[in-house]
């Protein structure tokens, strides 16, 4: 829980997240997304959530960031690397984000001074007991969601006449 762990991780997470939304090159955005997700994994570790840290690295950094990287490489053209990547109405978006952040800030201010009372401890074992005990039904249902997503992705990947695309 030391600040020496928290501040560098928070800095890496937020700076690379800023890079994700502002850089022109989508390839660089996708790589920085991986870095930002790894920073969030480190923040989980500083919260003592060790299993969440491992799951974040495996699923987000190892799975989702890599998948996005593949799609960027499959769908881009070389001349797009220098195109403007933001809408002309970005100023309105900045104002929307400002309003949202103001609201969130008012809520965050309520949590000022709330300190942790216990030391961090590994939570993998209680998490396993919880998932297979009280949360067993949702845990099984989530496998159904994942199978449905898998089948859906394959269906969308097929071309209209039902064959695997040639291109």
């Amino acid at each position: 829980m030391s600040p020496y762990l928290f501040w560098p991780l928070a800095g890496v997470t937020l700076l690379s997240a800023l890079g994700v939304v502002t850089l022109r090159n989508t390839m660089h955005s996708a790589l920085l997304l991986g870095l930002s997700l790894a920073g969030v994994a480190g923040l989980y570790l500083s919260l003592g959530a060790d299993f969440l840290f491992a799951a974040q690295l495996l699923v987000y950094v190892g799975g989702i960031a890599l998948l996005i990287l593949f799609v960027v490489m499959l769908s881009g053209r070389a001349d797009e690397m220098r195109l403007r990547q933001t809408h002309s109405t970005w100023l309105a978006a900045v104002m929307v984000c400002g309003v949202v952040f103001f609201g969130l800030w008012r809520i965050v201010a309520l949590a000022r001074g709330v300190l942790a009372e216990t030391r961090t401890a590994p939570t993998t074992a209680p998490l396993g007991v919880w998932l297979l005990g009280e949360m067993a039904v949702p845990f099984e249902l989530i496998t159904l969601v994942l199978v449905a997503a898998l089948v859906g992705a394959v269906v969308f990947g097929l071309s209209p006449n039902g064959s695997v695309p040639e291109k």
């Binding site: 829980m1 030391s2 600040p3 928290f6 928070a10 997470t13 937020l14 997240a17 800023l18 994700v20 939304v21 989508t26 955005s29 996708a30 997304l33 930002s36 969030v40 923040l43 989980y44 919260l47 959530a49 299993f51 969440l52 987000y60 989702i64 998948l67 996005i68 799609v71 960027v72 499959l74 769908s75 403007r84 990547q85 933001t86 809408h87 978006a93 929307v96 984000c97 949202v100 952040f101 969130l104 965050v108 949590a111 000022r112 001074g113 709330v114 300190l115 942790a116 009372e117 939570t123 919880w130 989530i142 969601v145 997503a149 992705a153 394959v154 969308f156 990947g157 071309s159 695309p165």
Partner: protein, 101 residues
């Protein structure tokens, strides 16, 4: 380190993700912004678990479910992006006008 610092980082991450989802022209950039917002919410869940309810693991379990749902969402989303790219040859959201007829 108090809870407010974690909530502040999470709020900033959410706002950055919201900005990305609102302004990126590239549909993959929009999806990346949505991923950042998911992560901000998960970080909040883990932080609340640590600071307000340290004897249980419910917050972390919900964050785990959220990660699984986000993975399913991004897989289907990217499959849709590739399907649209095959038929329209573009990844820019202003050219996604299939429903206009």
């Amino acid at each position: 380190m108090s809870l407010a610092y974690y909530l502040l980082v999470s709020a900033l991450l959410f706002v950055i993700g919201l900005f990305g989802a609102l302004t990126r022209r590239n549909i993959i950039g929009v999806l990346m912004g949505i991923e950042l917002m998911f992560n901000a919410a998960n970080l909040n869940l883990a932080a609340f678990n640590r600071f307000l309810h340290p004897q249980g693991v419910a917050g972390q379990a919900v964050a785990l479910f959220s990660i699984a749902v986000a993975a399913a969402e991004i897989v289907v989303g990217l499959a849709l992006v590739l399907a649209i790219y095959r038929s329209r040859d573009t990844v820019y959201v202003e050219e996604f006008d299939l429903l206009k007829g």
